[in-house]
Amino acid sequence: MSEYNLSELKSGGLMKQKKKDLFSLRLRIVGGFINASQLIKLSEIANKYGKGHVHLTTRQGVEIPNINFKDVEKVKKELGKDGLQMGACGQRVRTVTACQGRECSHGLIDCLLLARDIDKEYFGIGGHPHKFKIGITGCPNGCIKPQENDFGIMGRLRKKFIKEKCTYCGLCASVCPVNAIEVNKNSNDVVFYEDKCIGCGDCVYSCPANAWQKTQEGYSVFVGGKMGKFPKLGIKVFDFIETKERVLEIIKKSLIFYKESGIKGERFRDTLDRIGIDKYKKAVI
């Protein structure tokens, strides 16, 4: 066990198991997307080098346990043939999680595309005080739990109301989860409380007359979420970021902020709490 550097191995997605010489290989699965031929490859590797099973992680990843250290390079090479790469552990930007985005009937943004863009730019980057997890969810249903990530992104939309199209059926008021719409059938009146609206788009996608129409899609940003021994939910710092490019820029600046202001071993949330969320916002806007 002495001929290899454990922390170096960890950076490449290898996790030492309790049993001597056995490692679990963590893979870089972006946004939970894995194609069918890669699944076959995983199965082959688990049978050939492991013990015939894999472990599905909470971050949509796959780990292949029980790989002997002497087989690691061979396994990596074989995985590489099907485009499978090793994941990240330790104090790094971790694999980006994402829901199915527009493949789901509620999704408002293309989560996988965004996850891949972020992954391409920031995956595995180290030198921060601690790990950095990014999660993307397609709508306010929040299935990916963006508030549990150091940096969480949520798809949102803005909409407009076209009075001439409205039939005052009241369906939008019934589907709205926050009672932001009131419809008065008798006086042909619709009242929209914009401050209550969470931008989920339920009214837009349900309206029989297309009187509610999407005008813009965008992103809410949450920071400082974490689980572990001392869980905290992320704080919404930006309600509506209009472009993907701006989101990427905020991530970039957040990582710089974390690197420069964080103390070694401190999670992003603890840095934010210590320095102040307003200072953070100023640094990234």
Binding site: T167, C169, L171, S174, V175, D202, Y205, S206, P208
Partner: protein, 78 residues
């Protein structure tokens, strides 16, 4: 939109998601393009899910009316 008569009526009150939508979908599949189906569904979860699913399948909801705790939807098959 004066008095459009539905060709058939499907009362889905008390039918839970996604069975209510599946039953509507099967019924619509039996019909011809342009035919009208009246669907009666409960307020709450069904009204949150069924109309948007019908729209996603390309059908047109030509009328929606709230009657007490349920909705009547007139759907024109695509």
């Amino acid at each position: 939109m004066n008095e459009i008569k539905p060709g058939s009526v499907l009362d889905l009150r008390g039918v839970a998601c996604p069975n209510n939508f599946v039953r509507a979908k099967l019924k619509l599949e039996e019909m011809r393009s342009g035919d009208i189906l009246e669907i009666i569904i409960d307020d709450g979860e069904p009204i949150k899910n069924v109309p948007r699913s019908i729209k996603e399948e390309g059908h047109k909801i030509i009328k929606a009316e709230k009657i007490n705790s349920y909705f009547s939807l007139l759907v024109e098959k695509a």
